[in-house]
């Protein structure tokens, strides 16, 4: 017992034992317990095929997408302390953030992280396609993944408006004008002119999809609030839910794909 170090002492305290209910993960029993007993690690199986660990097979792009999503959630929460989504304050709050927070890089990490997430999600899809991993029994999970990809783009797109600078409103204007052209549902789209009963125009610039998106006919303050809520609350909730489904189905469909 002469070799007992501080680490061994800590491991035997009541506090440590109350948090980690198993010994050090050096034997099979404890390695199983550490994964199964931890709410975060239990997303994983206890054992998996070696090819599922190899970076050459997975590229770790799915895992990194999730990690970047978490990083964006944390930095986004921090940014919310400094930011008010009104035409009066939005731009000035960003300026203030720049000037009052010395060496601050939270907005940078949030912005580049958003781009990084688009990249990792695309590359994840690319890898899954190249290894044919969408094939049965994983068809449904591929569909969930496609929806997550679209939501990632929408998250990034809605966030683009929040700095309320020239880049923001004109990029969103370009996007919103595409919504105006939706067939039947946008007032500038094909078929909208047909939706008319007598003098009553059913699809106009006061009620079409662009109006619903922007809460107005142009990118103004109501659009800023709408995008803020979509960006900070609504889409993240949907994404988090679908991520849970996505991970659950990976496990239920037999884990990371491998030759049958």
């Amino acid at each position: 017992m002469s070799k007992r170090g501080v680490a061994d002492y800590i491991r035997e305290t009541q506090v440590w034992k109350s948090i980690f209910r198993h010994g050090p993960p050096t034997n099979a029993r404890n390695r199983a317990a550490v994964v199964a007993g931890n709410v975060f690690l239990h997303l994983h199986p206890i054992k998996l095929k070696k090819s599922g660990v190899q970076l050459g097979y997975t590229w770790c792009m799915g895992g990194l997408s999730f990690f970047v999503f978490l990083a964006l959630t944390v930095t986004g929460l921090l940014l919310m302390f400094y930011y008010r989504p009104t035409a009066e304050y939005a731009y000035n709050d960003i300026i203030a953030l720049k000037e009052h927070v010395p060496l601050g890089i939270m907005r940078e990490i949030h912005r580049w992280g958003a781009h990084a997430m688009v990249i990792t999600v695309w590359l994840h899809m690319f890898r899954v396609f190249m290894t044919g991993s969408y094939k049965p029994p994983r068809e449904f999970n591929w569909g969930v993944g496609v929806i997550l990809l679209v939501l990632t783009l929408l998250l990034s797109f809605t966030g683009y408006l929040l700095p309320w600078d020239q880049l923001a409103i004109w990029a969103i204007t370009v996007g919103a004008n595409m919504a105006k052209a939706t067939p039947f549902l946008g007032h500038g789209g094909p078929g909208a002119a047909l939706a008319q009963i007598g003098d009553f125009v059913m699809v106009s610039d006061k009620n079409d999809v662009r109006f619903q998106l922007l809460a107005g006919r142009f990118v103004g303050e109501p659009a800023l609030l709408r995008f803020y809520i979509l960006h900070c609350v609504f889409i993240p909730l949907v994404v988090a839910t679908l991520i849970a489904v996505h991970f659950w189905r990976i496990r239920k469909d037999g884990g990371i794909s491998a030759p049958l």
């Binding site: 070696k50 690319f126 919504a179």
Partner: protein, 358 residues
């Protein structure tokens, strides 16, 4: 040299070049996917990239902070594409010899503990990613332009880079197609892939030889119609969405003579030498006929051919029609591009009265 590159980077030339390169890459993937080729390509790319970056106009556009992600994704895609081809070539050579895929070898199927194997890999990836993001954030400040001003539009007004493929499609299609219908086809088509690709081979390992149709179809869309168009939309489109070469200064006064003609004008004025009919449906009947033929007569016609019969025998009627609609939807973009370049064709159907221009 720079003059030449400025000319051939124009989509009129670069689109066929990129398509040809794609075909060569897919056809000779066993050569592309060798280590020798990979190292050779890397050793060529480094001096070329250095030389490109010496040009001030080129540097200006690629170092614009919001364009950095595209530079990163181009590098990553180039590398990972080569790597996938390398792994696919490895497996396909093994399959030729009657051996199973490399991923199926007993030593790769062997089960390992998640702790510490997977947890360690994940931790390293997370640390690497964090370092990368922090360094990126320190070097490049997040852009912030002038405050929003609804009365003054910047020129060009560009969407975020990942939507520039769609914005680039606006050159060839009206917004209802480029912004709504085609993206819709992309999303629905992606979700449909596992249900229409009934080929049981190639599940869980890299291969091209065992699933050629899926590979050619998907990768053409992914490389040529998505990534390439994003690159064009980002780097080669300047004020008024005019084409600018990679070494060209974005001169706001560059005037491009562009006169595009509708199919109905070709039909009535050029070919029949008559005035345009007053009734819009009569005026456009030729284009409408072509569109109906493309959408509703072409698929059953192919179904009757030997090639179509084979597919239907394999996957059934419903899967065949969904696949063929997705393919002709995807093909409509390159078809429209080529028609624009060859004949200055503007719209096949031009019904501005109904906002229906195709």
């Amino acid at each position: 040299m720079k003059e030449l590159i400025n000319i051939i980077a124009d989509p009129i030339f670069s689109f066929p070049i990129v398509t040809t390169l794609f075909v060569l890459m897919m056809k000779y993937y066993r050569i592309v996917g060798t280590k020798k080729f990979g190292i050779g390509a890397l050793l060529t790319a480094i001096p070329v990239a250095t030389w490109l970056c010496l040009d001030p106009n080129f540097r200006k556009i690629i170092l614009w902070p919001d364009n950095i992600p595209i530079n990163i994704i181009i590098i990553l895609i180039a590398w990972l594409t080569w790597y996938s081809l390398y792994r696919a070539a490895l497996n396909d050579n093994r399959l030729d010899e009657g051996l199973g895929p490399w991923e199926g070898l007993p030593e790769n199927r062997e089960k390992v503990w998640v702790w510490p194997n997977l947890v360690y890999t994940e931790l390293m990836c997370i640390i690497g990613c964090t370092v990368f993001l922090v360094v990126w954030a320190i070097i490049f400040k997040a852009p912030l332009e002038e405050p929003a001003n609804p009365t003054w539009a910047p020129n060009p007004a560009k969407a975020p880079w990942y939507f520039l493929g769609l914005q680039e499609m606006l050159v060839y299609f009206d917004p209802w197609m480029a912004g709504v219908v085609l993206p819709g086809i992309i999303v629905v088509g992606l979700i449909a892939i596992p249900y229409i690709d009934t080929n049981p081979k190639g599940n869980g390992y890299y291969t091209i030889a065992e699933r050629p149709l899926a590979m050619w179809g998907f990768l053409f869309g992914w490389f040529v119609l998505w990534q390439y168009l994003i690159i064009v939309g980002t780097f080669l489109r300047g004020p008024n969405w005019t084409y600018y070469g990679p070494f060209e200064y974005w001169d706001f006064h560059k005037v491009v003579a562009e006169y595009n003609v509708n199919l109905s004008e070709f039909f009535w004025i050029k070919w029949l030498n008559r005035p345009m009919p007053a009734n819009m449906f009569v005026r456009e009947f030729f284009g409408i006929l072509i569109t109906i033929g493309y959408l509703f007569i072409l698929p059953p016609a192919i179904a009757r051919m030997k090639w179509g019969k084979k597919i239907i025998a394999n996957v059934g009627q419903i899967r065949y029609y969904i696949t063929i609609f997705l393919i002709i939807g995807m093909a409509s973009l390159p078809i429209k591009m080529v028609l624009r370049w060859l004949f200055s064709l503007k719209y096949i159907i031009a019904l501005p009265e109904l906002e229906l221009n195709l």
